[in-house]
């Protein structure tokens, strides 16, 4: 996972901190922000391949963040983290261009697998369009 950069967006500080640490421990270049606005700012300045996005957040919620993110950076893949036991918000997220969804509390291995797949797809997309990274 050479260049893979992951951004985790979640308002729960403990969760955010721990998951970033665990990803980093698995040699993934991960960062974290605690709301949608900051996420949009940071993707403008830095390159990220995959964004793991919580749905329920105060202020700008996950779905809205997703819409704006996809508008500004169409190639970034997003994995929705849903607290809802329902597939509903996950499916809604996918409607707006999310790669997949995963239910909280998530299994790290499952998450890693999905991040991997998302990254693959991003690379394929970029190759198709003759782009490579930024």
């Amino acid at each position: 996972m050479e260049n893979l950069r992951v951004l985790v967006v979640d308002d729960e500080a403990d969760f955010l901190e721990t998951i970033v640490m665990r990803l980093q421990r698995r040699k993934i270049d991960a960062s974290g922000v605690d709301d949608g606005k900051k996420a949009l700012e940071i993707v403008e300045n830095e390159r990220f391949d995959v964004v793991v996005l919580d749905v329920l957040m105060p202020g700008m919620d996950g779905i809205e963040t997703l819409k704006l993110l996809k508008k500004r950076k169409p190639f970034i893949e997003v994995i929705i983290l849903t607290g809802h036991g329902s597939v509903e918000s996950g499916l809604q997220g996918m409607q707006f261009g999310a790669f997949d969804y995963i239910m909280k509390p998530a299994d790290l291995d499952e998450l890693l697998e999905k991040i991997q797949q998302a990254y693959e797809r991003k690379r394929i997309h970029e190759e198709k369009h003759g782009l490579s990274g930024e």
Binding site: E12, F15, T18, G83, G85, S86, P105, L108
Partner: protein, 551 residues
């Protein structure tokens, strides 16, 4: 049997129906009877009046004729002629030939001496100068007496005519046979109880009445009153009702009385009254029966409606309870879910760190690892509960597909077969082959069946039987699935809460109390119904029905 409110209502309906039906009945019955009585009585009175008047005319005519006969005789014969007894006898015999009305005939001079007599009695030589009638006839010229016994001690009445011949007066006097007069009066006694008699000014009977009273005695009624017109009246006398017609004569101050017994002549009226009463009673009975029947029918409808409403209310309440609980469950799940996610990540992090060497050397390393694994396991368990909770709470549109209920049941049984065989539980099926396919969500239906069957297996425990049957009720367009077990049954207090979320009878950790709650909301969402019936000791039966829907 009936609740108090219903009973009260029933009496109300009966009372109202009764009143409003009876009032017209009574009015009708009374009016008819009254009208009939009026006209019938009028007719009877009229008949009586006619009868009395006819009789009076006949008697008047009789008296007229007698008076004329005597007058003619007096004025065609002279005193000197009639004075001769033989001549008088001849004339009397001549008169007797035509009519037997006269009993005797006599000539009286102006001094009251009976100078000549023809008849059965020895009256010649009697002097009438002091008799009242003598003065009357001398005064008026014509006289008709009341009935009296006289010298003969025999009831009779006399008729006298005075003639003035030259300078002296003489009187022709005749006795009228009261039998003939009586017979004339009695001709008015046409009916079974009709009476006719004559009274004079002093209310003395001049003829013998048919029923009560005797000749020359005082009649108890009516009171004599001179009046030219005929009077018809109803009178209460001698303990009975009487109809009286009274009319006075032209020739004499007598009153002809014709009397009817109303119980005889008004018999048709009484019949009519009995008929009316009978009809009213029959009417009352019919109305009573009708009112009771109407009340019963209405009440049955009402009870039916109330029962349906109660059922609807109950199901509405269950629905709203479910909705509220669903919301609450979702809220709680959410709040619990986030800390759970943090715990899980933290445990993961600790486990990650445990891999590092220096800690691995610690003598409690194994304990740490065990504890972490346990924490992880229990987080996993909590997660499952929460996800089921959220599954209950979510409002997902069901999938629409063609569904074969029999097939779903067979598949579901397949999941449980091993478990059941191990516990020696026999699953018997009786599927209807004519079951139509319907549009529904097969995986959700399967979840429902799985929940019910799981519960059945758990309830039986060991050695038992589960019966599953499917049926199609074409009338209601429903597919009905019955799942019965012969387990211990469900007590009533449990039965009432069996579909409530978090309600479970299973031991802690084995059931979430959501299986049947979820099943309930699924079936409801699919437009069906789920019902349970149970008797302690005999097992339980779950009945699930789905609507048959075409494409």
């Amino acid at each position: 049997m009936l609740e108090k409110g219903y009973r009260k209502l029933r009496w109300k309906i009966i009372a109202y129906t009764f009143c409003f039906s009876l009032i017209p009945l009574f009015v009708l019955g009374f009016t008819f009877y009254h009208q009939f009585r009026e006209s019938y009585t009028a007719k009877i009175m009229q008949n009586l009046r006619t009868l009395a008047e006819n009789r009076r005319n006949a008697i008047d005519l009789f008296l007229d004729e007698r008076v004329s006969q005597l007058t003619t005789l007096a004025y065609t014969q002279s005193y000197s002629q009639l004075q001769g007894e033989q001549y008088l006898e001849k004339v009397f015999t001549l008169m007797q030939m035509r009519s037997k009305s006269f009993i005797d005939l006599g000539i009286i001079d102006q001094d009251g001496n009976h100078v000549a007599y023809s008849g059965p009695y020895q009256l010649k030589g009697l002097n009438y100068r002091n008799e009242e009638w003598f003065h009357e006839v001398m005064l008026r010229g014509v006289y008709i007496s009341d009935v009296f016994l006289g010298f003969r001690k025999f009831p009779h009445f006399i008729m006298a005519v005075m003639r003035r011949e030259g300078d002296r007066n003489w009187i022709l006097r005749a006795t009228i046979d009261t039998k003939i007069f009586d017979a004339l009066v009695k001709e008015a006694q046409v009916g079974e109880k009709t009476d006719a008699f004559v009274i004079n000014k002093e209310n003395i009977l001049q003829t013998t009445p048919r029923f009560s009273g005797s000749l020359l005695s005082k009649a108890p009624y009516p009171k004599y009153s001179p009046s030219s017109s005929t009077r018809v009246e109803e009178l209460k006398a001698n303990g009975g009702q009487r109809l009286l017609a009274t009319t006075s004569f032209k020739n004499k101050e007598w009153l002809l009385v014709v009397q009817e017994d109303p119980t005889v002549v008004l018999l048709p009226l009484f019949h009519a009254r009995h008929m009316v009463i009978l009809l009213v009673i029959v009417g009352i009975l019919l109305i009573t029966a009708g009112a009771v029947l109407i009340a019963r029918a209405m009440l049955q409808q009402l009870i039916q409606a109330d029962r349906e409403k109660a059922m609807l209310d109950a199901s509405l309440m269950q629905s709203s309870k479910m909705a509220a609980l669903g919301k609450m469950a979702a809220g709680i799940a959410h709040e619990v879910n986030n800390p759970l996610a943090v715990i899980k990540e933290k445990v993961g992090w600790v486990k990650d760190l445990l891999v590092e060497e220096d800690i691995a050397k610690s003598k409690n390393f194994k304990e740490f690892q065990d504890a972490m694994t346990k924490i992880e396991n229990h987080v996993e368990r909590a997660k499952k509960v929460i996800h089921r909770l959220l599954g209950f709470a979510r409002r997902m549109e069901p999938v629409e597909e063609k569904v074969d209920i029999n097939k779903i049941l067979s598949e579901t049984i397949g999941f449980l077969e091993n478990d059941a065989r191990y516990k020696n539980i026999e699953i018997k099926t009786n599927f209807s082959e004519k079951l139509p396919k319907t549009i529904s969500d097969s995986s959700q239906i399967q979840q429902v069946f799985l929940n019910i069957l799981n519960n059945a297996v758990d309830a039986i425990g060991k050695d038992g039987e589960i019966q599953i049957s499917t049926n199609c009720v074409l009338k209601d367009k429903e597919i009905v699935v019955c799942i019965s077990d012969n387990g211990p049954g469900i007590p009533n207090e449990v039965l009432q809460r069996i579909f409530d979320p978090f309600f479970t009878t299973k031991e802690v950790g084995r059931g979430t109390g959501l299986g049947l709650a979820i099943s309930y909301s699924i079936v409801e969402k699919l437009g069906g119904r789920i019902m349970v019936a149970s008797e302690v000791g005999k097992g339980a039966t779950f009945t699930v029905s789905f609507p048959v829907r075409g494409e």
